[in-house]
Symmetry: C2
Subunit: 213 residues, 2 copies
Amino acid sequence: MISSKTKSSMFVPEVVIQRIPIYLRILQEELNFGNNVISSKNLGNRLQMSSAQIRKDLSYFGKFGKQGQGYPIAFLVDKLKVVVGLEQNWNACIIGAGRLGQSIINYPGFSPEGFKIVAAFDSNNKSYSDENSIPILGMEKLSKTIQDKSIRVAIVSVPAIEAQKVIDLLIIEGIKAILNYAPISPKVPNDVVVRNIDPILSLQSMTYYLKRN
Amino acid sequence: MISSKTKSSMFVPEVVIQRIPIYLRILQEELNFGNNVISSKNLGNRLQMSSAQIRKDLSYFGKFGKQGQGYPIAFLVDKLKVVVGLEQNWNACIIGAGRLGQSIINYPGFSPEGFKIVAAFDSNNKSYSDENSIPILGMEKLSKTIQDKSIRVAIVSVPAIEAQKVIDLLIIEGIKAILNYAPISPKVPNDVVVRNIDPILSLQSMTYYLKRN
DNA sequence: GGTTGTGAATACATTCACAGCA
DNA sequence: TGCTGTGAATGTATTCACAACC
């Protein structure tokens, strides 16, 4: 067999990667509901997308289904978790412990999904009474803490003006995955992934469709 | 001239619509900074994208630039605001006044960007002490309030299990634009636009890239 | 019969490259 | 000279459609 790329070396489009966690969420639901097999058609219905797209997406990573039956859910969940790196937990830190930062710190939803916030930083040494037991450290502790606690993911919730500076710092410290809540479009090298949480942009990109009906 | 579609009837890809508010944000910044002309190249640099893409995007809506110079910023801002429907303000309501809902209600950032939260609803008649003066109404007031206050946009911040039900309700009331904070993939008819704010999916779609370096 | 996995076909998005203009 | 606006070319993503299989 000549020049057939192995699955693991094949380039996977970014959009596909972004859909895997969505699939995982539904699969987990189905598992909890007691089902143990699901077809691409069924999964597609749940997500308002075509069965072909689901099959094609999954095919980037291997063959997980049984013809005539569908996908064994528990097996597929395990495989997909390994594919996207969710078979392990990841330590995260948060920069910016104002109102928003505090809400994020106290939000209980991250840790069951594989992300543990193990440190919080703020330039003002505002020591909010935090309900969780995460102390808020000064920015000078950033570098050492990232090393010591093996932090690989950072959440940015500082004001817009400070955000790019903070992100630059994180990049220097070797952080390659950033969840950014500041309303800016950060500049980052192309080995760093950023996801922006920007409700205002989301709202503003909907009104276009409101005008025409 | 045979069969040349007018700009206003031309189909504009969704991705393009989503980028317009991003452009607007930078343009506004430039204005505040005192600049009054910007080139596609310059704007592209700010956003880490190609100048060609920016020119192509803008060309869906008209010709706003001057050859040899660039785009007059104030003029472009005005035009783009009209294009995406941001020359006017929009009334919004929020369903779900728990922790998250309260944060959203008290967030001061929406209104300067054209969205005013004029009503809040919750099934539990929990009357949190709200810092703003928006009263929290029972769900039975939803229908009438949406009509009376001309609400066109809804923000959903209820628990996951209730979210689809609430969204179905909103759709019955004629809402066509929904900002959804619940961790689900809602099913909606295709004349309804939904934007999901889902930090967990964002985090989970980054770890894939952490494994390989 | 029902469903996967996948090349081929189609649809969509981005970039190229250059004429046209200030 | 410097930049826009845009068809044409390229690159990406989605869908089709069907052989292979349980």
